[in-house]
């Protein structure tokens, strides 16, 4: 596979993933997976009647080509308001190899090329 990919990871409070997913989709992301976790930051510690509570988190992972990464991350920050304190974070991880995604990308590209050719003929 020639295309280079990166994994964009966004961590937000539970219930706030819809805005992130929508923003990423509009910026060109093809999909992602959401898993659930708990935050352990000392700045987010809360307690009710002496019982400490850990805030619930959603971790959204989106695999994207490197050339789209900056656009998608920018859209995620704007859509999820991640520049405000306490709203969440977004970072990217390098990906060495990807399998199972190239076929979908090549079919998409083929269809795009066919459409472009049809337009030219018209």
């Amino acid at each position: 596979m020639d295309k280079k990919f990166e994994l964009i990871v966004s961590i937000v409070n539970r219930g706030h993933s819809d805005a992130i997913v929508e923003a990423a989709r509009e910026a060109g992301a093809n999909g992602g997976t959401i898993i659930y976790g708990r935050g352990t930051s000392p700045f987010e510690k809360d307690s009710i009647m002496g019982v400490s509570i850990q805030p619930e988190k959603e971790i959204i992972m989106t695999l994207t080509p490197t050339e789209n990464k900056n656009n998608i991350m920018q859209a995620v920050v704007e859509g999820g308001k991640l520049d405000e304190n306490g709203m969440g974070i977004c970072f990217s991880l390098p990906v060495n190899q990807v399998r199972g995604i190239s076929a979908k990308y090549s079919i998409k590209n083929i269809k795009k090329e066919e459409k472009a050719e049809d337009k030219k003929e018209d």
Binding site: G32, T33, I34, G100
Partner: protein, 133 residues
């Protein structure tokens, strides 16, 4: 909910030059990758058993949900949302072989709707490294 599977692996012999490098710098060079496989709910066990046959002995299965490729698919329920993510640690020089085998069995079959990718690991504790090399 997460499931962790691990099995003790017989130790491989480390080359002399690598031993010298480790002793000199007190760190292991990057030799591991994190393998991530995302598949439809219900097939995580099958993937971990397949990985065990390929000598991948530590895997963590986590439950999650997928995001629909379009808002229409989301509205009409055309997208299978429930997913399982399998995280496993593999050696750098074996990643190609493992991904090829995974591709042959899971990645081309629509019922799994699976993708797999690897993330390079920069460092790990000495005890962790010794489990994998």
């Amino acid at each position: 909910m997460e499931k962790v599977k691990s099995k003790q692996k017989p130790k491989k012999k480390i080359s002399l030059s690598l031993k010298r490098q480790i002793k000199k710098q007190n760190v292991y060079p990057p030799m591991l990758e994190l393998l991530v496989v995302v598949t439809n709910r219900g097939y995580g066990e099958e993937v971990t058993e397949f990985l065990e046959k390929l000598d991948v002995n530590l895997s963590i299965v986590s439950f999650g949900s997928g995001t629909a490729p379009s808002s229409l698919a989301d509205i009409f329920g055309l997208y299978n949302k429930e997913k399982e993510m399998i995280f496993a640690v593999i050696q750098l020089d074996e990643s190609e072989r493992i991904l090829d085998k995974l591709e042959g069995k899971f990645l081309l079959d629509e019922k799994y709707a699976a993708i797999a990718f690897t993330i390079p690991l920069k460092s790990a504790t000495k005890q962790s490294m010794e489990q994998f090399i």
